[in-house]
């Protein structure tokens, strides 16, 4: 189902939709042809006498170092080749170059949803769901379970096969408690046994709400109320600074009190409470406006990062960070 095509404001007329699709394909074909031409011409890397021409996109160069490889700019490769054309120290990394291509294609696959819902987008989405879950699970096992649970229950085995840096040598049977909690939690997967999972859940919820109860009051109630001791009269180096500082201090206090008044629910918004609540709503609107601006700022920053990846790492159109 192409949901977004069905929304009002989209070309519902099939002829228009067909024309739009044809246009899209034509644009993509032109872009692809331009890229092929540019690959054929090649890109110069390195400078001066070391300069080399490479044909292709998304290439990653690595230098052998110690047990592994580290990524180096293409210019390093150009220098190495200029010094010794047969060198094997700096080379194109197959897996990483394939990786950049995979990343670029996946980026485009997700972006293709903007045109309309399609199988390529769904494929990328399915991949990321599986990959993220697998990644998080293996990270949780290695970083928390191995040391904190296995290492305590079977230190000898864990040290020999899993975690050579382990220092504990004697089993700590208290570690059975979290293991048991975890096992009970896993019972939630079974329809018949899911009630057993209620106990670890109750434990976690209880601990968590105890902590939250104390910390919210300490940090967000008490310490925040303490800021209201800020004097309303602020002296600055100039008359303007004094007036400005004082005005700001007054406005902050008025704002906190009036927004609080807006959130009184057992009092009808009439009389002075109503007046305060009306001021409160203006403060809330300004707060939301600023929040709106900041959120938009964040969204655009993320898009910029993806564009930079496509233009820099993949297509080598720009090189602001000196990667090639």
């Amino acid at each position: 189902m192409s949901q977004f095509q069905g929304t009002p404001g989209s070309p519902v007329d099939p002829a228009v939709a067909r024309r739009a699709n044809r246009l899209m394909i034509a644009v993509l074909a032109v872009v692809a042809a331009l890229l092929v031409v540019r690959a054929w011409v090649g890109t110069e890397v390195g400078s001066g006498a070391d300069a080399q021409v490479v044909h292709g996109y998304g290439m990653v160069f690595v230098e052998a170092k110690g047990a592994g490889h580290v990524q180096v700019p293409a210019a390093e490769w150009a220098k190495a080749v200029a010094a010794d054309p047969a060198q094997q120290r700096v080379t194109v990394s197959g897996p990483r170059t394939v990786g950049v291509w995979a990343a670029a294609l996946m980026t485009l696959a997700v972006l293709s949803f903007l045109w309309r819902d399609n199988p390529v987008y769904k494929l990328a989405e399915s991949v990321v769901v599986g990959v993220s879950a697998g990644y998080v699970m293996s990270t949780a096992v290695w970083s928390s379970l191995v040391d904190q649970v296995f290492g305590k229950l079977a230190p000898g085995f864990t040290k020999a096969y899993l975690s050579p840096g382990l220092t504990t040598t004697e089993a700590d049977w208290w570690a059975l408690v979290p293991l048991g909690l975890g096992m009970l939690l896993l019972c939630r997967l079974s329809a018949r046994l899911s009630w057993v999972g209620m106990f670890p859940l109750a434990f976690v919820v209880g601990v968590f709400s105890g902590w939250r109860f104390v910390q919210y009051v300490e940090s967000d109630l008490l310490a925040q109320v303490a800021t209201m001791f800020d004097p309303l009269y602020v002296t600055g180096p100039t008359a303007a600074a004094t007036v400005g500082g004082t005005l700001c201090a007054v406005l902050v206090l008025v704002g906190v009190l009036s927004v609080l008044a807006y959130f009184f629910f057992s009092l009808e918004h009439k009389g002075p409470v109503g007046g305060a609540a009306r001021v409160g709503i203006w403060y809330l609107m300004i707060t939301f406006g600023a929040s709106f601006g900041f959120t938009v700022m964040g969204r655009i920053a993320l898009l910029a990062a993806r564009c930079e990846f496509l233009f820099d790492d993949w297509l080598w159109l720009i090189d602001p960070a000196g990667k090639h």
Partner: protein
């Protein structure tokens, strides 16, 4: 919606515009400046806001050799906004001679620590691992990790990521609880992150003998929610990519002030470069809202007249 007579009015046509044109406009507004900046390398000057200056001063004012705990509480989904902050703050710490202890509360934060440290320390072989910096990696448990670290860091982390027991790491000598660090930094994309650090680790120390100094870098979405904690519960906030750009600018200015002949590597100007696509994106957003309202009220005016 409403079109009167045979040909729809300009308003009605605009109102029914295919939203993909708007998508295209946004793409161009962001992509074109990136290409332009990528080719010319130009950036805008930044004027630091007080919260960013506060963060900078917090790092700057520590005596050289201070120990800073940096928690990189984000994953690649938010790296576009937060990576430049992480790089800039870590770089500033290294320039000032502070030792860095890195950790993360997000499962996908591990490689981010590696990447950041490699970026900053690539040309600083003198910054030996264990002596000047250490990577504790990820630990599951969110606030639970904070609670443990408040009393003893070694409760949460038995070893660092390189399997060295904490007691054998030189730079952590004398560190028991989190308050023994001279500064806590959290680069945070949400839960668990800066807000929880304030609540669980910073605020409890405020009534004690040694309050823990705290600086946060935060995504645009989260920043407004952290503002009330400044300056009482945190020394500074880097808000969104603009905060990162200001911080980068401050660090680079400090480098140039110390040595006017120094060349700032372009990889340390990432956020400043991003302010160009940001500028055009924001202007487009304002224009779209204004245009949308013109169309809306234009159509409404016609309807009421008709």
């Amino acid at each position: 919606m409403a079109s009167h007579g045979g040909t729809p009015s300009a308003f009605a046509r605009l109102d029914r515009i295919d939203r993909r044109w708007i998508f295209l406009a946004m793409f161009v507004a962001v992509a074109a400046p990136i290409l332009w900046v990528g080719v010319t390398g130009k950036t805008f000057p930044e004027a630091p806001t007080p919260a960013v200056q506060g963060a900078f001063d917090a790092v700057e004012s520590l005596p050289s050799g201070a120990r800073v705990l940096v928690s990189m509480d984000f994953d690649p989904a938010s790296a576009g906004e937060l990576q430049p902050m992480a790089t800039a703050i870590v770089r500033h710490c290294v320039l000032r001679g502070h030792s860095i202890c890195a950790m993360t509360l997000w499962p996908a934060g591990g490689p981010i620590i590696d990447g950041t440290m490699q970026d900053v320390l690539g040309d600083r072989p003198d910054w030996t691992y264990g002596e000047r910096w250490v990577n504790l990696g990820y630990r599951a448990g969110f606030e639970g990790v904070m609670k443990q670290m408040n009393s003893r860091v070694s409760l949460a982390y038995a070893t660092d990521v390189r399997q060295t027991p904490l007691a054998e790491i030189p730079m952590l000598k004398g560190i028991t609880g989190i308050a023994d660090f001279d500064l806590l930094v959290s680069i945070s994309a949400g839960y668990a992150g800066a807000k929880e650090w304030v609540q669980y680790s910073v605020s409890p120390t405020l009534t004690g003998a040694k309050p823990l100094k705290f600086v946060a870098g935060s995504t645009g979405v989260q920043t407004p929610q952290l503002i009330p904690y400044y300056p009482n519960q945190m020394a500074g906030i880097l808000g969104a990519i603009k905060g990162a750009a200001e911080y980068e600018y401050l660090v680079n200015e400090a480098v140039l002030k110390a040595d006017p002949a120094a060349v700032v590597p372009p990889r340390f100007q990432e956020a400043q470069r991003r302010m160009a696509p940001q500028l055009f994106g924001h202007v487009l957003m304002v224009a779209l809202i204004v245009l949308g309202n013109v169309v809306f009220f234009g159509l409404r005016g016609r309807e009421s007249r008709a």
